[in-house]
């Protein structure tokens, strides 16, 4: 088991943000976390990143409590892609920014190694960002920047990648590009992925497992293929859905019913 959550709870100033969250993620798994706004998805990601301390329960990473890892050691296990970054604070070239992700493998006096450069080049190649690796990050489009963020997370060479709504601000074309990239990472490179998303169709089609959060509690956890169910989606989002079958894959797709 790569990561295991045991009755995890998180409180900030008497407000309970998460309670009794238990799940496991195996090596090579692709877990989508879904749920309405304010359901605790981002809190859970922040707990998994070790930014927030659980108020009860614990997270076990490779058999050891997550909070017992020093920061650098944790960064070698878990990487993170945020929803969006402030581009004006990114006055670095793509190459420099991706190189910065090798921080966890260095100390103030250590030299840049060939293995570092190899990891950076590989990350750029996988994400198809080599072509603009000399451009400034703050001149990139949203889609390009998100690929650079993923490249940077990849250069960390950690087995687990956390993504917080990585496609929210992207147009359909770039959404598909990021989805395909995550798919490739998961299936061809064995990367374990935990992704927070609002796109339930993407979650049910591309991920292996889904964890549905509702008001800080775990509402459902299981195989992604079994997720699409009218009552479940209504309970989760308080919204009716219409279901259609994908003409090619035959999988169920849900459309929010606006009538």
């Amino acid at each position: 088991m790569l990561i295991e959550s045991k009755q995890l709870a998180c409180k900030i100033e008497h407000a309970t943000l998460l309670s009794d969250i238990s799940f496991t993620v195996a090596q090579g798994d692709y877990l989508s976390i879904v749920g309405p706004n304010g359901s605790g998805k981002s809190t859970l990601i922040r707990c998994l990143m070790g930014i927030l301390q659980p108020s009860a329960g614990e997270l076990i990473l490779k058999g050891q409590p997550l909070h017992s890892y020093p920061r650098r050691a944790l960064a070698r296990q878990i990487s993170y892609v945020p929803q969006a970054v402030q581009t004006q604070s990114m006055a670095f070239t793509v190459l420099d920014f991706v190189r910065m992700a090798r921080y966890a493998y260095h100390h103030p006096f250590s030299e840049w190694q060939p293995s570092d450069e190899a990891a950076v080049q590989q990350a750029l190649e996988i994400t198809h960002t080599t072509d603009f690796s000399c451009r400034q990050c703050n001149t990139l489009s949203g889609g390009e920047l998100q690929r650079v963020m993923i490249a940077s997370a990849l250069a960390q060479q950690s087995p687990l990648m956390l993504l917080d709504e990585p496609t929210t601000f992207l147009d359909p074309h770039h959404q598909v590009a990021v989805h395909q990239l995550l798919q490739t990472l998961n299936q061809q490179h064995g990367m374990t992925i935990i992704e927070v998303t609002h796109d339930i169709n993407h979650a049910s089609q591309h991920s292996q497992h889904i964890l549905a959060l509702h008001q800080g509690q775990m509402m459902w956890h299981g195989q992604a293929s079994e997720f699409m169910e009218a009552q479940r989606l209504y309970d989760l989002y308080q919204q009716d859905f219409i279901f259609v079958r994908h003409p090619q894959t035959g999988r169920l797709l849900a459309l929010a019913d606006e009538s």
Binding site: M49, G50, I51, P70, R71, R72, L74, A75, R76, I78, S79, Y80, P82, V85, Q86, S89, M90, A91, F92, D96, F97, M100, A101, Y103, A104, H106, P108, T139, S152, A153, Q156, L162
Partner: protein, 321 residues
Amino acid sequence: MSRQHWCLLLISLGSLLILLLSPFAGLQGIDQEIRHTILHDIRIPRTLFAFIAGCGLALCGMVFQAMFHNPLATPFTLGVASGASLGAALSVFLGISFSFLGITGASLFAFAGALVAICLVYGISHLRYGFSTETLLLTGVAASFFFSSLILLIQYLSNVADAFQIIRWLMGSLTIVGYQEIWQLLPFVLITAAIILLLGRELNLLSVGDDIALSRGVPVKTVRYILFFTTSMCVGAIVALCGPIGFVGMMVPHICRLLIGHDHRWLIPTTLMFGGGFLILCDTLARLVIAPTELPVGVITTMLGGPFFLWLLIRHRRPQA
């Protein structure tokens, strides 16, 4: 050699040239013997002092701007300078005129004021929200206003002579005689510069964002503690010895960023050299413009740095996408 190598090399050479030439400026037509005394006892120590103070102010400003993701941050943003100024104003108001180990009462009071400000800002921001950048910034600005109002109160209650002395102190000055102040200031700036030089990679990641820095392995809180305390002590020492000289700490890092980019591994040495050279240049002009009377150096730093910065900003303006 890359553009960054050249920039750093030229700025360093320029600063060293200013450092070497400045003591001789304005010495023409003075008797040989007096000239020797002026040069050795006044000019050389003063130039060295300006260099060290300029290095310290510029570096601390750079750190604060990166740490708070705020281009308007200065070394004085966190209330350290106001605390020190309050200490100095109090010492003038109370008529204190002792000195301890060669440090004047005003400087000691100012340094004590800086320490009080550091503890207060740290204590309040730590108490409730656990030392986040936002609370730190807000607490610092609030403390700064509070101390400033106390200084105004002291000025109001003082007699004219004391009030004038306080105003002169608040303008900042590099008037020193002998090498004592240099030995007092040097350890603070040296230690701060060494620590900041070692934290270049951390500063790069912090300038992108706290969450990114954390996820890349930077122990953000620890780094922030270290930076907060070292830079605050350094600013406290500088302000205690030469008053709050404005603008260097805010503008020099920006000018260096425009010249050399945002990578702190280059930015730190560039800012260090530029800050030192810039403050000497301003001080030399302050001495010469209406010689034999001197202008407060803070006036020159702003008058010289402001237009230069605006010129750079316009020159570097990129076409909007």
